[in-house]
Symmetry: none
Subunit: 379 residues, 2 copies
């Protein structure tokens, strides 16, 4: 388990090379999602976003567990039969999705209470590891006209890594920045897709019944992919995933069965302009900065040997030795981290923020010295 955040350029470049040349990039593949995924190689996509059907009227692709064909318009088959059919369909496409997902990739699936519990169970059973369930709070849901239930005002997304210990990309800082510097929560309030964003067919009717808002895909992709990553959407519909991927400089593959949606999506994506790269940049993560050993600052004279460091409340102090080791009270010594932990009796400690040096304007964390040093290196 681990988070890949702002990984080195080498890895990003590797990603671009990894994908076999024969992969159909930035294209809509026409066909059944399961069969079409079967034609794609193992471990070739960085993220999968899936908005599977949940009306159980899935057409001729569905078979009962015994193999017999299901007639979707035949309402004789009971609820349990239909649930079993839906489960089978879900497990099949998730199985293929898992095969073609890279080991450090993630999958997102969106649904409502009609199907999301089946999907979540199938995800866990296939070995995916749930990282979060996300609630999309619709700012403007359709009211419950009959007054028989609560207004169904949300949908649920499930976000999974490929396995419990798998690494995955999560752009924590970017999400925090997007939320006014407060951690992004698992509930997202976004308007439904309407107005000019809602695609219409030639008759002026909505082109697709469940077109998702671009803002939703925008947040998903900003959170869990890097520019250049490959995103697959096996239920492409009107191509919201493709449009947002193009806008954010991600590559994409769409799978869609119906020609009318392929037509609409193709036009839509062609009309979408990629963002300028400077506008796309995500927050540089601290983890990406080159490491600076404390000893380096001592060597450089930025923190001279023999100087004294204290914690912010001056409860403890220590002397900086020439080798970068701190000498604390009662003969205690250690690295900036080790001594800080030792004195506080804590399991661990970030010495960079714990220790401070005296300046004319007051105490300053030694991390500030490191940052100045880093800034100097960068020039």
């Amino acid at each position: 388990m681990g988070v890949l955040e702002k990984f080195p350029a080498a890895r990003r470049a590797k990603r671009a090379v990894e994908a076999p040349a024969r992969l159909p990039l930035n294209e809509i593949l026409r066909g059944d999602c399961i069969e079409t995924m079967r034609a794609l190689p193992d471990r070739c996509v960085d993220m999968i976003f899936a908005d599977p059907p949940y009306n159980l009227q899935l057409g001729g692709d569905l078979h009962r567990p015994d193999g017999s064909q299901v007639d979707a318009v035949d309402d004789d088959w009971d609820k349990f039969d239909s649930l079993a059919v839906y489960d089978r369909f879900t497990r099949e496409w998730l199985h293929e999705a898992r095969r073609i997902l890279k080991d450090d990739g993630t999958i997102w699936v969106i649904g409502s209470y009609h199907n999301i519990f089946r999907v979540g169970t199938a995800l866990q059973d296939e070995g995916f590891w749930i990282l979060n369930d996300i609630v999309w709070r619709k700012a403007n849901p359709m009211p419950n006209f009959k007054g028989t239930r609560f207004t169904n005002a949300h949908e649920t997304l499930i976000w999974c890594s490929k396995a419990e210990k798998a690494k995955y990309t999560f752009n924590y800082r970017t999400m925090k920045a997007l939320n006014d510097d407060i951690q992004m929560r698992s509930d997202w309030t976004l308007p439904i897709c309407s107005g000019g964003e809602r695609l219409k067919d030639d008759d002026g009717h909505k082109a697709h019944p469940t077109q998702k808002p671009e803002s939703l895909l925008y947040r998903v992709m900003l959170a869990c992919t890097e520019p250049g990553d490959l995103v697959l959407d096996p239920f492409f519909g009107t191509g919201t995933t493709g449009a947002v991927a193009r806008r954010l400089g991600r590559r994409w593959i769409g799978i869609e069965r119906e020609d009318k949606y392929i037509k609409v999506a193709t036009q839509r994506i062609q009309a979408t302009l990629p963002l300028d790269e400077s506008a796309m940049m995500s927050i540089p993560e601290k983890k990406a900065a080159p490491r600076v050993a404390f000893g380096l600052l001592v060597e450089s004279g930025l923190i001279p040997p023999g100087s004294t460091v204290t914690d912010s409340k001056r409860r403890w102090s220590a002397m900086v030795r020439a080798d970068g080791v701190l000498a604390g009270p009662n003969g205690a010594t250690g690295s900036i981290h080790g001594l800080g932990a030792q004195l506080q009796g804590a399991p661990s400690c970030n010495g960079w923020s714990f220790w401070h040096i005296e300046t004319p304007t007051g105490l300053e964390p030694i991390d500030a010295v490191r940052q100045r040093h880093l800034a100097q290196l960068g020039e």
Copy 2:
């Protein structure tokens, strides 16, 4: 499907008589929930509220950034050997629950992403008919300390009738009144249980690791039961269900395995005073003011990435990045507030009034965009 609302007094009276005299009313039954339910007769309760173990599968210790340790749920009752074992347990207790539920009764089950998909699947498989899934948005959830995921800020409740065509009670008007005369939605924002409501043991530690807030049960019971109805909670814990039932003039049965919880719950419920009947229909409730992050306007395309913002006198300008961060002159970046303060050399700055966008009619503060967005949300 049908809703029993404002049913005639006759029906209410009938309910009171229906329950066999031998039913243990307003009592905590000590024992395993499945075995104990087996001893109850068919179709005897009007509602079931269940807060089963979540099967959290937590790993090692978790520390806050300040070094303190998170007091995690490590109780034996939350440990299951596998998902299969958990599923079997879930199906068994749901099967008994279904048997003792009246045909026009409803069941509520609460859970998190660890277990709720298993629960939802099992509910559907047992023949329950999902009416809504409800999201409890926690006003004050625990943050994600390591920055590895989205803050897990909600739990999910599933509300079911006994069958697709079953009648059930839903007090639509009560819910609407409770929500400032707007239909109650499927997402409820409520604080977690803390402060004086949180029960402590003799040592001053929390008596139960997962005590639910009374406000949650209050809303559930107001929505789906009538005074005099019988509510069963098979995982009674510290008795929130019993306390709220008593307060609202409902009858209750609790099932709990552990003596320490029974003891606490008994005291608690004895100390709970039933509401005056006239007071029973209203809840004072403060509505949280919606907070709109700048990034939300960027995501929504209201302020497109790449656009330029300036202060009112056009002394400074900055570019809006895709993540909602502003990129100013000389490589300076920051949030709308942070960069504004930085450029002015001020300790702080209200970015909403400081930054403006160009419009056909001149400069407009970005707060105006926010206000229009809020108006659209209708919140």
